[in-house]
Subunit: 414 residues, 2 copies
């Protein structure tokens, strides 16, 4: 079965906003074996909307319309579907009472244009929307000689997603051929996207029944494996088989076999080793700590640390002397190591992690160019440091440095 999602709303045709509901709906549709073949975004113009609906019905079996169900003049989805399919709209008495009750509850008069929301397509089933005033609609109908399933769901994500899950999915599941889905997400750090693809493509392309997607972030690769079969065991076996081969190929780069983030993994290892961590960040200015503290319960193993942006603070909070900075420069392996050791001793943590670098856009020299970073990790046993040169703008250098710092920590703890 092929589907199309039409997202309705002029704001999504501006440079500022994008349809995001469709990502969620695509995931849920794929899980029951329905592919999304087209996505269309169309504004609040009835003529355009009718065009889009007719185009969609000529090419797919399942049509999901998101948005345009509110009470304003711009909300035209109901009318457009009626016109495109030559169906009548009727005002539903129960919906009118519900709208009136809602208005009474809020102690406001029921505006007459609100009654639009009580209009139901001939032959459609009303889909209750407990999170908003506009109900959804489900239409199982003929278009020419073909059966078409058409869903109207509200646009606000807080209404769209639950209504789709509770009302549309169960109905679709009954109609679509039964499928069992298995899914795994592998993640790897500090491997380039093209290197990863060169290594992995020869493997995953042989598994034509498993859909493999590679997503690349700053120093991060996420591989999603999705397989749809007649039985759950069969689907799981294929995914696990491929995952095992990919994991072996990814070697040390692999940090997560089931989708966990790098900061989650680092905190997991810290917990396992009953170790605590403190950080001293210069060029990343708090980004490493911000990622670690994004994980609930981080406080069990993360003590905190210092943002040692000014050289005086490298001294005050991590005991790095002005002499050392004068001798080696603030961006040096020596200072990185001294920061890591200093923050460890000052905080009494098991591990100290430090970052210093030149994020740009200015401040680079021939000897120490923009993108040069030193990352150091200190424990009572040893203090090591890593020199890296990252390309790109200030944000990119900071993002990659943060990822590299967390990955250095992961490799030590593993």
């Amino acid at each position: 079965m092929k589907s199309e999602i039409i997202a309705v709303g002029s704001e999504m045709l501006t440079p500022f906003r994008q349809d995001t509901n469709s990502l969620y709906l695509t995931e849920r549709l794929n899980e029951i074996g329905i592919a999304v073949a087209f996505k269309t975004i169309v504004g609040d113009r009835k003529k355009d909307l009718i065009y889009a609906i007719r185009c969609a019905l000529s090419r797919i079996d399942v049509l999901i319309l998101i948005g345009g169900l509110g009470p304003t003049e711009d909300d035209l989805t109901r009318e457009a579907v009626a016109e495109a399919l030559k169906l009548k709209l009727r005002r539903d008495a129960a919906l009118i009472s519900a709208l009136a009750a809602r208005a009474a509850q809020w102690r406001i008069p029921l505006p007459s244009n609100n009654l639009k929301q009580a209009e139901v397509l001939e032959g459609a089933t009303i889909l209750p929307n407990p999170n908003g005033s506009a109900p959804g609609q489900w239409l199982d109908t003929a278009y020419g000689e073909h059966r078409k399933l058409i869903m109207l769901v509200p646009g606000p994500p807080g209404e769209c997603k639950p209504l789709f899950d509770e009302e549309c999915l169960p109905r679709l599941r009954q109609i679509a051929p039964p499928r069992a889905i298995a899914k795994r997400t592998l993640r790897a750090a500090m491997i380039g996207e093209s290197v990863a693809d060169k290594l992995l493509a020869p493997i995953y392309t042989t598994y034509t029944d498993v859909e493999t997607t590679i997503l690349a972030g700053a120093g991060d690769i996420q591989l999603t494996l999705l397989c749809s079969k007649s039985s759950p065991q069969l689907a799981k076996r294929r995914v696990d088989e491929l995952a095992a081969m990919l994991e072996e190929t990814l070697e040390d780069w692999l940090y997560s076999s089931d989708g966990e983030t790098l900061e989650q993994i680092v905190l997991y290892y810290l917990g396992l080793r009953q170790a605590t961590l403190a950080v001293a960040e210069s060029c990343t200015g708090g980004m490493v700590a911000a990622r670690i503290t994004s994980v609930p319960g981080a406080s069990r193993n993360f003590l905190g640390g210092a943002i040692v942006y000014a050289d005086a603070l490298k001294n005050a909070f991590a005991g790095v002397t002005p002499e050392m900075i004068a001798q080696h420069g603030a961006v040096s392996a020596e200072v990185a190591k001294a920061l890591a050791t200093g923050i460890r001793l000052r905080t009494g943590s098991t591990l100290g992690l430090a970052v210093t670098g030149i994020a740009g856009p200015t401040g680079g020299t021939e000897e120490k160019p923009i993108g040069l970073v030193h990352i150091a990790l200190s424990s009572a046993e040893k203090t090591e440091s890593l020199e890296k040169h990252f390309r790109g703008d200030r944000q990119r250098v900071r993002d990659w440095t943060t990822q590299q710092a967390l990955d250095l920590l992961r490799r030590r703890l593993r």
Copy 2:
């Protein structure tokens, strides 16, 4: 003139990836007065692609196809356009030599499927792509009785955007009626989206010739005003007039009259007052510092600070005694003020900014629920604090707290 953007690529029909090129192209098209009426996303299936192209040509004048121009079997845009318009494809000799030269430069043999990239639509102009191997194409043709402008541009953003700017825009500008565009972006902090819209809608809706878009983030509102007129003066006058009225209504909430971020504004004020800043962050764990240090040149006025996640670090880095924490709790106005004062004194900064709170998902009590935060700001003259209750999950509480901390600082410095 109405346009449609078709983004080609199966990966954009997965739950993981979205077309983003179209946001950029929409902005540039709007600037020369061309509206985007539809966006379509279609996978790498020739039949679907032909459907999408035919649908588009039935409803708009300008069609931009992004992607599907590479050398692989999945790259079908050229063939699909040829079939949809019943045009021939010819292999261009100059393009073949260029591909061969490129291969020679990389010292690799020219794979035969690469020759696909030398195929040109009958009647099309080749658009050079200095950033990749696949050139774009421009086709000014008749479809039925109507004139259609069709552009094929490569999918990678680093190729798509420059090629569109340098090759497509100048050609479109010659054909589209001349327009002058004026644009302004206003930003406001810590005002709810619905409150903002209730205050501002009665004003901006009367300016029907200025397109106003409101974008809401965590405690942040961004208003973009766009006006297209026959003369630049006329367009600028209307935008400035409306901006002045909106600015007056936004009062103290307004922090930026031309799109600057809150952290840029804060650093601007710090520079103006020749003041320095240090932070002590507990629940935001470095997020305030990370935002401040995202601005180039932040080091002129930002010294750094401490991430005082563990109570022991509140003492070690900001001198907050265990007794005070025992008496008032780590999340209290007293501790927030002591942190702000302590970090100011320890670092020698003009201003100390501190955050402590309960981000969740656990750790809340009846008296101190999840979402409770205390933010304090200290200078030699005075130390003030602010109590806030933010709703939502851990990430939302942390995002809003970070924004509130920066806004407290802005209001003091203004």
